[in-house]
């Protein structure tokens, strides 16, 4: 298998990140459940985090001196922490919405529609 013989490069990681990102976008666009949309957001954030980690590893790329190093790791940490905060607030909003609408179908929340 030629695919398994060559060392992993930055592009491999970027492809994984791209797939995660696209899946997250698809999930956000198609799900009508508020928590389903939230899961899409988590996927998108993870796609970005994978890219950060990949860019920070010097041994994955030919131009090692341009690697992000620790900055990429710290950015990923901030992404993870903020994703947790975002999930907490979004869940609180979803619960609030459920209290008033008795559902969390996002299509039902169209009361301001003209």
């Amino acid at each position: 298998m030629p695919l398994l013989n060559q060392p992993v490069s930055l592009s491999h990681y970027l492809v994984v990140g791209a797939i995660l990102f696209a899946c997250g976008i698809l999930c956000m666009a198609t799900k009508r459940n508020a928590i389903g949309v939230l899961m899409g957001v988590e996927l998108v954030l993870n796609g970005a985090a994978v890219n950060f980690v990949a860019f920070s590893a010097p041994f994955l790329r030919g131009d090692a001196e341009l690697a992000l190093g620790l900055d990429g790791h710290l950015m990923t940490l901030f992404v993870i922490v903020l994703a947790a905060a975002e999930a907490a607030v979004a869940l609180a909003i979803a619960l609030c919405y459920y209290n008033t609408h008795a559902t969390i179908d996002v299509d039902e929340g169209d009361e301001l529609r003209g």
Binding site: P7, L74, A87
Partner: protein, 205 residues
């Protein structure tokens, strides 16, 4: 001769992508959550392979152990029937597929566009893979001291080599605000009107 680093990368990458796709196609919210857990746990493996050990442990602890438990908890609190599921119309799929597919193609083109990104530094890879002792360095960076960048060779980058003390503090305060805000939003209160049974059609304007 199989490169074992590549082998494990491919293993984790396949799990990640397969479960990410499963999140999109499954109609049941709880199954979506399970697939998301599997996908994000496999991302942890990718982080370990990229010598980011502290980030990997954090991903496992905060994301998989914290955020996703919250999500599943939210699903259970808001479930109407025994198993929540959703119907998606083909038109919806088409629009989403167009947008997502275009984005995917764009990102894939970007991923393979730079030659230096396609060639791994083989000589350094063995050393880099072994180590990844990032904990102490990350801790010092969060306190405002970049022990890894004391001799930054590139003068263009030297200006941005300050530590991360300020972002760290901002995020701490942000988390406190989020905690108070979420507790305030989700506090128990009596609903004004009784909860109606859900209607299949959307409300009339």
């Amino acid at each position: 001769m199989i490169n074992w680093h590549t082998f494990f990368f491919m293993l984790f990458a396949t799990i990640t992508c397969a479960f990410a796709v499963a999140v999109v196609v499954s109609a049941n919210v709880v199954r979506m959550a399970v697939c998301l857990i599997a996908s994000l746990a496999a991302v942890t493996g990718l982080y370990f392979l990229a010598a980011a050990d502290f980030v990997a442990a954090m991903q496992l602890m905060i994301y998989v152990g914290g955020t996703l438990v919250l999500l599943v908890f939210g699903v259970m609190l808001t479930a109407r029937g025994p198993f929540v599921s959703m119907k998606i119309t083909p038109a919806n799929w088409l629009m989403a597929g167009l947008a997502g597919g275009a984005l995917l193609i764009l990102l894939l083109c970007a991923a393979v566009s730079v030659d230096a990104w396609k060639t791994a530094a083989v000589a350094e890879s063995a050393a880099g893979r072994e180590g990844g002792h990032t904990v102490a360095r990350i801790g010092m960076a969060l306190l405002g001291l970049r022990v890894d960048a004391l001799e930054q060779p590139n003068p263009a980058l030297r200006g941005g080599m300050a530590g991360y003390l300020l972002p760290f503090e901002i995020i701490s305060v942000h988390l406190l605000v989020v905690l108070v805000g979420a507790a305030h939003l989700a506090r128990a209160r009596r609903t004004k009107k009784p909860i109606e049974p859900p209607s299949g059609t959307s409300r009339a304007a």
